[in-house]
Amino acid sequence: MMDLNQLTAHELLNKLKAKEISPESISESLYARIHKVDPKIKAYVRNKGQQEAPLKSQPNGLLKDVPITIKDNICTEGLSTECCSKILEGFHPPYDATVISKLKNSGAQIFSLKANMDEFAFGSSTENSYFGATANPWNLGHVPGGSSGGSAAAVAADEAIWALGSDTGGSIRQPASFCGVVGLKPTYGRVSRFGLIAFASSLDQIGPITKDVEDAAILAGIISGYDPKDSTSINKDVPDYTKSLNGDIKGLKIGIPKEYFVQGMDPEVKSIIEEAINKLKSLGADSKQVSLPHTEYAVPVYYIIATAEASSNLARFDGVQYGYRAKSDNLIDMYKQTRAEGFGEEAKRRILLGTFALSHGYYDAYYLRALKVRTLIKQDFDRVFGDFDCIVTPTCPTAAFKIGEKTQDPLKMYLSDIYTISVNLAGIPAISIPCGFTKAGLPIGLQIMAKPFDEEMLFRVAHAFEQSTDWHKVKPKL
């Protein structure tokens, strides 16, 4: 029999309903696992403010008593939320993010330990965390991806039932791919960001990281929906996503963008993805090559827009209202020293890059130009979605890379998001699901993209694929 910590949320819910298990037994099982493997993986933040708390029975609701792990950049009232940054060390939010209120209202248990991440979600490896790096459960010498690396590693290592992450340029999908779990970036506007510590406001979305597609559909259903506290959230009904898990993809038109299969791409990734596409065809889908001609501009456009927005969003960390403050008796020096001592290297790099892109004399050449190229990238997708139901690609150009491999070369690190970034720029939804392993035993993810607000298509295709394969059932040996 499997231990409770290994189960999916829907499996736990069935057992809870049948009164086969108690909430306390889930809690015990999770903490036993965490004590055993987390000293190696470090998926959870272990700072002085982080407390282990036994899980207590919750009010009735769809997710009654199921625990959920939360990324350290989503505000949880009274629970430490530090964005894995020194500048927010010791911060205990006085309110809950809307996604947290929704989870609590559904009876879910908010796990008191928060998941590790790159500082302010700036990174693709979780190596930029002020609290130290997280390891990949499949190979401890490799990164779990990022920035939601703690959430993905915790789910993959059965230290969590499921988790929430955030995705600005691939920060849910890329770690999901690297850790062999399911990760969904919902449509921009689908999930409220109220209480998500902002990185790039025109790109950020919160989404689920889960062990299977059914859990992703359940969790997406809970956290989605209109919120007047987020002016970018859209007032549109949330469908019952579990109804999309019907296995029928006959006749669906799948576009395969040629720009994602370029010469020199990792041959192992290429063959695993091609095999996955053949699987979808054998299930009755039609696939055709399509073109997204502006793909090569996505990374440069992203690193202008995302850093410009970040430089503005992070202006609030000045040592006045919360977090770290450097000692000084002059206000401007206090700001400068606080930010010098409080921000890590990547945060400084991005703030400076963004400040530059917005500064006098460079705004037109960088920021305005990037916004225009963003239009071209979006139009590429609009064109393809006129004829196709979804687009299928690799989630990442490679399997998880080694710890330390890209830390000295920021540009190399930025390029690891090459297949995920366009989705955020276009505002569309996308999911990453496990679709195979390299010879070295590292997981590879398949990315499916759909039209805005067509998460149902993602769940439909992802579930059909998952149910006809066993990749999601393989567990890392720890």
Binding site: H92, S231, A315, D318, Q321, D333, R339, A340, S359, R369
Partner: protein, 95 residues
Amino acid sequence: MSIDKETVKHIAHLARIELQPNELEKLSLQLHDILGFIDKISGLDIDKVSPTSHILPVSNVLRDDYPHVSLPAEKALENAPSKKGNFFSVPKIIE
């Protein structure tokens, strides 16, 4: 376009971040490389393209102005590094 140390120094001041000499050195080189890569977009013909600052077709989102309970001052001040009464406290601005 390239970026030199003086420019980095200037934007660090705008961003209110004090840089150590070794940081300035390293960041100038890295930002130079990153901008070199970003310059890829300068070749595109975009004269007739309108900018996308926001992906959704919504604008000027307003809410009803009604009285409601807001965060009490003591709760809002809970995380303040320094406070006096119901205020955040900062170093003196006027000499």
